[in-house]
Symmetry: C2
Subunit: 401 residues, 2 copies
């Protein structure tokens, strides 16, 4: 038994859906049993969100999930039809039918359970079940969705629960050292570790959703990323690289433009103010990154980054918690991008940070902030420097062809 | 408590959905509790069927229902959002959530039950529930749909179960003596009986689905048809007309172009052949209407009508069951329309059939067949004669303005 997942661009049209059905048929003909998780067709989710915004300025989160969940149901029904048409008696299942229960946090729910017995029973009688990705139901029966990229999470969660491998298919033939659309020489990786993939996904690489990688790591799910449109070999996401493979210092570089940089000028000197600020942000559940302070003419200025989506809430919180003090001001800059290099090899190779920084400096790229972990280094640069920074890192760490 | 139903053209765009929400708000402001049943937006169901036919020549009935059910879920979520946006905390419910169970005949399921306690409990806490029309689930959890016009049936069934009135809103402001798009002088009726409405719906009038009227009659549901887009008074569908109202002989006339006329020429003389034919058709569940035979030069020819959709199956059956005999042939004619006059007053007024027939004859319209019941007379005429026949009947029975 194998879980497969096909992304939105793989099922964007009726013709592509038939193409996916053909691929599935080849596997069934080899005697495999498949649970196929699908996303909504093409840009359906975006269109539905646009429709919601036409009827309501701030759509009810419960109703938004009820709306968005239809996208995956459409694809799953169509794919099951296409398979039936080819003589494979597939059935589609939605979250209700599968007992895929989640927490009640609409638009960003987490999977809690899955009725495995039903799924297993059906797979005894037939070779393919098509399952709606991205959606769940609460124990009370409300429809939920798992957030952007949630279909990856659905697929890996089902594979984890079934103890079987998971194959993620998209329009990209695997994981690359760098986004091939931005750096022509980007190289496809045969293997990448869970930890590296987790960092790359969190840092902007779109090939896999980071929550899906988290679950894959936790339950040691055999994970494979490949192309829907070719038989080219993809990338295996593994616990550790095969021993015969030389461990690169840096496995991949990526950019994340979903960042806003906030600057609080003339920050009040009191420790109380700083503490109130970060406590307030933490209470809002905001992730603050790349914090730095600059002293200038006896005043200190604080900068940090947050993800774009939380920016409004962050500005509100900043104004609220700093209200008792006077003389400060806050400004924002969305024209920034986070450039990161990731590699488990960094742990044992000293001087990677120095190489990273000097590679950017040599190209005259200003770093507005940096942050590091055991296996990654990130720098914030101006948006217009993003591509040059990527190319400098690809060259420095030998990630090109 | 009141059940309302809004048809596809009433919710065709985001703007129209907001319009419906405004109408609902007015009722809520008056202190009413509403269960609002909605259809898919505009032509969504047709688009989904077209999509299905792109992936499969003969879409699996189960998967087709899974696909089509998404249309109503989209509308219900959007309407609930629009209501929330106006300060009315509405919730949308689909068939799973409502326990709206049906038989397992996909594409044409019949409602079996409804979890009333859940619905009642929710209505204690809020004023509006928005419910997906047209869809159900089998006891095993498969998604079903109720067939064309099924949202009317959903609405009336919920009203019947709750013992409350039902209002059906569409782009037509009520039931007319005749289709106002075809006969300009058509008059709107204030009242019509269940029996008349049932005949009119079965004979082609699109304002209400005949199964919905059947359920309304069976459970004496107060039924009202009105316009979504105006406050003009609509039509009450009642058990019997108010006593003060003069009972017209004919309440309405209608046409049904969904008819195919089959002719079997040189029908074998044996009674066995005729018996095999009608037994064969009955076993296929085909409704045969307007049967007539003509004798000519020692041969007899049989004609009858069936609804367009069953035509292929009927032709197959005819060829199969008459295979043992020789010399006959079968031909079909889709260029026909059934024109009908309906009125409970016919029961007590003799000579209505004569008036009906002579009204058409006077205009030189050939009748290819006729059929009558206690409260209706139908004639089959060539499609090009349809409008003239309608106008002749409107004039004869005083149905114009």
């Amino acid at each position: 038994m194998i879980v497969q997942k096909y992304g939105g661009s793989s099922v964007a049209t009726a013709e592509k859906i038939r193409g996916v059905a053909e691929r599935i048929k080849q596997r069934v003909d080899r005697g495999e049993k498949l649970v196929v998780v699908v996303s909504a067709m093409g840009k359906t989710t975006n269109s539905l969100i646009a429709l919601a915004e036409q009827v309501s300025q701030e759509p009810s989160p419960r109703e938004l999930d009820m709306l968005l969940a239809t996208g995956e149901q459409v694809t799953s029904a169509l794919l099951a039809m296409a398979l039936c048409d080819m003589g494979i008696p597939a059935l589609s299942y939605n979250a209700f039918q599968l007992g895929l229960t989640t927490t009640g946090s609409f638009n960003n729910a987490r999977i809690m359970d899955l009725n495995l017995s039903r799924l297993r029973m059906q797979l005894e009688r037939r070779s393919v079940l098509v399952v709606t990705g991205f959606q769940g139901v609460t124990p009370e029966g409300d429809v939920t969705t798992l957030g952007r990229g949630g279909s990856d999470t659905s697929a890996v969660a089902i594979a984890a629960k079934c103890g079987c491998p998971c194959e993620i298919y998209s329009d990209v033939p695997g994981v690359f050292t760098c986004d091939p659309n931005r750096v022509p020489g980007a190289r496809k990786l045969d293997y990448i570790t869970y930890d590296e993939m987790l960092e790359l996904s969190s840092l902007g690489a779109k090939v896999l959703h980071s929550r899906a990688v988290e679950i894959a790591k936790k339950y040691s799910v055999d994970l494979y990323c490949g192309s829907t449109f070719s038989d080219e070999r993809g990338t295996c996401v593994v616990n550790s690289l095969p021993e015969w493979l030389e461990q690169p210092v840096v496995s991949g570089v990526t950019t994340d433009s979903n960042q806003t940089r906030l600057t609080i000028s003339r920050l009040p000197r009191s420790m109380e103010a700083l503490s109130a600020l970060f406590t307030g942000l933490a209470e809002q559940g905001v992730n603050v990154d790349m914090i730095s302070t600059v002293n200038e003419n006896g005043h200190s200025h604080l900068t940090f980054t947050v993800v774009d989506a939380t920016e409004k809430a962050v500005l509100r919180t900043v104004r609220d918690v700093l209200a008792p003090w006077e003389g400060w001001s806050v400004s924002e800059d969305r024209n920034v991008v986070k450039v990161s290099a990731v590699g488990v090899g960094m742990k044992s190779a000293p001087g990677v940070a120095a190489r990273f920084i000097s590679a950017l400096s040599r190209k005259g790229i200003a770093m507005l902030g940096t942050t590091t972990s055991e296996i990654k280094i990130s720098a914030l640069v101006a948006t217009e420097d993003g591509n040059a920074a990527l190319r400098a890192l690809v060259e420095e760490f030998g990630l090109g062809e």
